[in-house]
């Protein structure tokens, strides 16, 4: 059994052609997911049961089921429903890219909202009381005190979620999208060389993850600079 290096040299560029799609999926889903997460967070901390409970239910369902199932429900399942086919959103759901983005966004939104909530809960109560004592309103405390502090607290876990999201984009290959994984699977089917192809692909993902982590680390260091002790 040989390890065909020439094959790797040939196919890596082909796989890298998919990196654009990978990043489109990642960027779009991360952005939309974050917006959804903030909405869910506000619903959760609103104190009103008719906002809190639906949000909790949503988070429970989306964190309790595999993301692959969610992708399949949207891509294969939605066309079964007439009201989807006839709605104005149909062009999104008819297209595998649209379905993938929707599924990934809905999924990451659930996880990120819990991460943000963890940050909010981690804000020192004393700091908020000081804000109260000074006469700051609830909204003012939330904007000027809770949000900046909670963001810094949530950043490590959020970074991990972005990395998970990157890995989840590979599942788009199961609904015909030609991201890096999709291209790789096609090549493997043709060449019967799973080791060379998949290991190279894994290395590509690991490199991407590495840079993503470094980037997030930089943001963490910048935002957390006030937590460094001096002498």
């Amino acid at each position: 059994m040989s390890f065909d290096l020439s094959l790797i040299v040939e196919t890596v560029p082909k796989m890298l052609a998919g990196v654009g799609l990978t990043f489109q999926l990642l960027g779009l889903s991360a952005f939309l997911g974050l917006i959804l997460a903030i909405v869910l967070l506000l619903m959760r901390i609103s104190g009103k049961w008719y906002l809190d409970w639906p949000a909790q239910l949503y988070i429970y369902v989306f964190r309790g089921t595999p993301i692959l199932v969610q992708i399949f429900i949207i891509y294969y399942g939605f066309p079964q429903l007439e009201f989807i086919r006839e709605s104005v959103l149909w062009p999104i759901f008819r297209d595998p890219f649209g379905c993938a983005v929707v599924a990934l966004s809905l999924n990451t939104g659930a996880y990120v909202s819990e991460i943000l909530r963890g940050g909010v809960l981690g804000v020192d109560r004393g700091v908020l009381e000081a804000g109260e004592a000074l006469g700051l309103s609830t909204t003012q405390r939330f904007i000027y005190l809770t949000t900046p502090i909670a963001t810094r607290l949530a950043l490590p876990a959020y970074g991990n979620d972005i990395i998970s999201l990157l890995k989840s984009t590979a599942l788009a290959s199961t609904i015909t999208l030609m991201d890096m994984t999709g291209i790789a699977r096609t090549i493997v089917a043709q060449t019967y060389a799973p080791y060379e192809i998949f290991i190279s692909l894994a290395i590509i993902y690991m490199i991407l993850t590495f840079f993503l982590q470094k980037f997030i680390g930089l943001i963490e260091a910048y935002l957390g600079r006030y937590t460094k002790r001096e002498s």
Partner: protein
């Protein structure tokens, strides 16, 4: 002489946490310019009492009036009341993500709507009052405990409150830093700032207090001027407390 209307009036105030009665039948009038020290064993309700004054805790029985405004659930503008009451906490509670200067300016801009430049001036002036103007651009984590607490006092003062509440301001400090904070508080007292101070620092009480109040098990047991309080305490509980706290 007509006695001035009290700034703070507490009438038969009570508060419980679940089944635990934290405050019972508290009656207290504070007039402008009065300096009151509250002492007592842990769990006596001292902190709870002053936290009810700016409604960080909600009282369950009785009435609390700040000036003409009564503190209730229906109060229209609680923040207007809180503007006039400054509070200093045991754990300082500075905003960790902001510079010292911004700590002092935030409430001025948001609550008193002071323009930025003026807020800055006021902030620097009070920083000089507490003797640490050079720390203006540092972050709280870079300051010592004593410095942080002085910043906290300055932060409260920037709002030009009518009355200052101190909740065990030196209890979390290392011994060598207690004095720098007490000095600031003594200066404030000598200038006539109305204040209620929960503390174990009896030296402070003796030098500036108009009244010393002893609390135990949620009630005010005894109150008197410092001379009388320390020399001739009336109640057994007071005597016991004083013997414990003054002997070690």
């Amino acid at each position: 002489m007509i006695s001035p209307q009290p700034l703070i009036r507490m009438q038969n105030v009570g508060k419980h946490f679940g089944t635990f009665q934290a405050l019972k039948g508290i009656n207290l009038d504070v007039i402008k310019g009065e300096r009151i020290v509250v002492c007592g064993p842990s769990g006596s309700g001292k902190s709870t009492m002053i936290r009810c004054i700016n409604r960080l805790e909600k009282h369950d029985e009785g009435r609390i009036l700040i000036g003409d405004t009564e503190l209730t659930d229906q109060i229209k503008d609680l923040n207007a009341v809180r503007r006039e009451i400054g509070m200093v906490f045991q754990s300082f509670n500075l905003f960790p993500h902001m510079t010292i200067l911004n700590n002092l300016m935030l409430a001025q801009k948001l609550v008193r709507k002071t323009p930025k430049a003026k807020a800055r001036d006021i902030a620097m002036r009070y920083l000089e009052r507490v003797k640490i103007p050079e720390q203006a651009d540092k972050y709280p984590v870079q300051l010592s405990g004593g410095q942080q607490q002085r910043v906290a006092i300055a932060r409260a003062l920037c709002m030009k409150p009518e009355v200052m509440l101190f909740d065990e301001p030196t209890s979390a400090l290392d011994p060598e830093m207690i004095n720098e904070v007490l000095e600031v508080m003594v200066d404030l007292a000598r200038e006539g700032m109305t204040m209620i101070c929960v503390t174990h620092e009896m030296g402070f009480a003796r030098s500036v207090a108009d009244r010393v109040i002893f609390m135990d098990a949620g009630e005010i047991v005894e109150e008197a001027d410092p001379e009388t309080f320390f020399k001739t305490p009336q109640h057994e509980r007071t005597k016991l407390f004083l013997s414990q706290i003054l002997s070690h």
